[in-house]
Amino acid sequence: MASIQLDRISVSFPVYTARGRSLKTQLLDAAIGGAIRRAPGNRNGTVVEALRDLSLHLKDGDRVGLIGHNGAGKSTLLRVMAGIYEPNRGRVSIQGHAVPLLSKDLGMDPESTGYENIIRRGLYLGLTKKQVRAQLEEIAEFTELGEFLDLPVHTYSDGMRMRLAFAVSTAVSPDILLLDEGIGAGDAAFLKKADERLKAFTERVSIIVLSSHSKALITKICSHALLLQQGKVVEYGEAEAVFTRYQEMSSRARTAAG
């Protein structure tokens, strides 16, 4: 049983200026006692509210696409679901093993070989070395990288890295898979294969959350979509309909700007 329950969560980031990042300056400021006052509330620079009062409930079998402009809060939301960010406010309850696949470098060591990185990533995801080795053959086969696996990862293309990371991440049989945009961008065929692998892996169907700008990709993989704007949910519903709404929104913004 996998589920994601978000209750009125808010996530805000402190955006520090170089001053705010310096302990020396902060201590000096405190010692001087604010003789030079800056604008109130501006002590530590700015705060960006990435998610605002967001509630969402996902259950077994949900395949959800996250849509929204850059900076709408998609990546932040994925990181909250992955348990990387604890929100400032609100409750998060996640049942099941959530595995994030967030950015291109995917935390690989570029100097190590493909095989070494498989083991490394497997360990990060909570497997033991023995468990990874037991699945090494099968993971290697899924990547279709062949002899490249003996070469350092810095010789790989983005797509190849992606295959590697995906193969390992699904080998831990995640209940929840969190994919960020860019990850599947070019390679729809691969994502299709990935989706099949997921289905084959677990009897129960897991939750997939996928952030993307591609309508083709979202409608292919996802049943539902969530439209985010400035950290708030604008619409949640059937994927096609939500995407249409997103396109309307974008074109309206463009007309208004033009």
Partner: protein
């Protein structure tokens, strides 16, 4: 009344945070295979393209110890037979302590990409730093072994005191890494500040000079935490049992450090991925 309520709520919240911080530290310990692997990688990466590999660490410190040993032996008019083993053991021990601190301040900074990518206990990255430094120490200690054999120093059974001392040092390295790492990832000039302080401490702590060279037992020794840590490791290497006063000082620092660290780590651990 309202404020009182908030206070109780705050205490409960803090208790929950404390539990989670403690769980993070335990869960990190359980991921030994993970930090064992990345700790080793960390060292290998540095020396991947060199012939000697990690033995560069040994070689460079060996050169440093011999050069400084010969020079200061002359300056202080010391008997090399005793002075070289003294400075070698001091240097190797100092290297471990200083690196634990410096690496600790950067523990979360260097792990940034992983912290923002993957859900793993945050403390893993501090264990990683401890492990890397222990491996480095295992390379450096051979300099002392070599010099001790050369000059016929035999520490006898007292050398076994190295083990509890090392364990104590690593327990302190853990809180140091958690606390300093936390501050370092928030305030990016912190590692630089600590670096300068540690450099000064090197000269204040008896590594190249001996405590006996001071006219009288000075406060500069008793209130120098580094001195006590150095002594509990160096004394057994040279064949003496470390004095109880050093153990007491180290235990007090351990206790104080952990109390402080648990409070800070409980309160701010969740912020680390945001700051990273």
């Amino acid at each position: 009344m309202n404020a009182g309520k908030q206070g109780i709520g705050g205490a409960a919240k803090f208790r929950a945070q404390l539990v989670r911080a403690w769980e993070d530290i335990l869960a990190g310990w359980c991921r030994r295979q993970l930090w064992g692997t990345i700790g080793l990688d960390h060292i290998r990466q540095k020396y991947r393209r060199s012939v000697l590999g990690p033995f560069w660490i040994t070689l460079s410190m060996g050169v440093m110890v011999s050069a400084l040993g010969l020079l200061y032996g002359k300056i202080f008019q010391q008997d090399l037979q005793e002075y070289l083993p003294y400075i070698a053991s001091g240097f190797v021990v100092w290297g471990l302590i200083a690196n634990l601190i410096l690496d600790g301040t950067r523990a979360f900074i260097v792990a940034e990409p992983m912290i923002r990518q993957i859900t793993a206990p945050i403390s893993v990255y501090v264990y990683r730093s401890l492990w890397s430094n222990l491996i480095t120490f295992a390379h450096n200690i051979w300099i002392y072994v070599f010099i001790a054999l050369w000059f016929g120093v035999s520490p006898g059974w007292a050398v076994l005191w190295v083990l509890p001392a090392l364990v104590l040092l690593l327990i302190n390295g853990l809180w140091l890494g958690l606390l300093f790492g936390l501050i370092g990832v928030r305030f990016r000039d912190f590692p630089l500040i600590v670096n300068s302080v540690v450099q000064v401490m090197f000269f204040i702590t008896p590594i190249i000079w001996r405590p006996q060279m001071l006219p009288e037992r000075a406060l500069i020794l008793e209130y120098n935490p580094f001195y006590h840590f150095v002594e509990i490791l160096r004394e057994p290497l040279l064949g003496a049992v470390p004095g109880w006063d050093h153990w007491v000082a180290v235990l007090l620092i351990t206790l104080l450090g952990w109390v402080l660290t648990l409070a800070a780590y409980a309160r701010y651990r969740w912020r680390i991925p945001y700051w990273a």
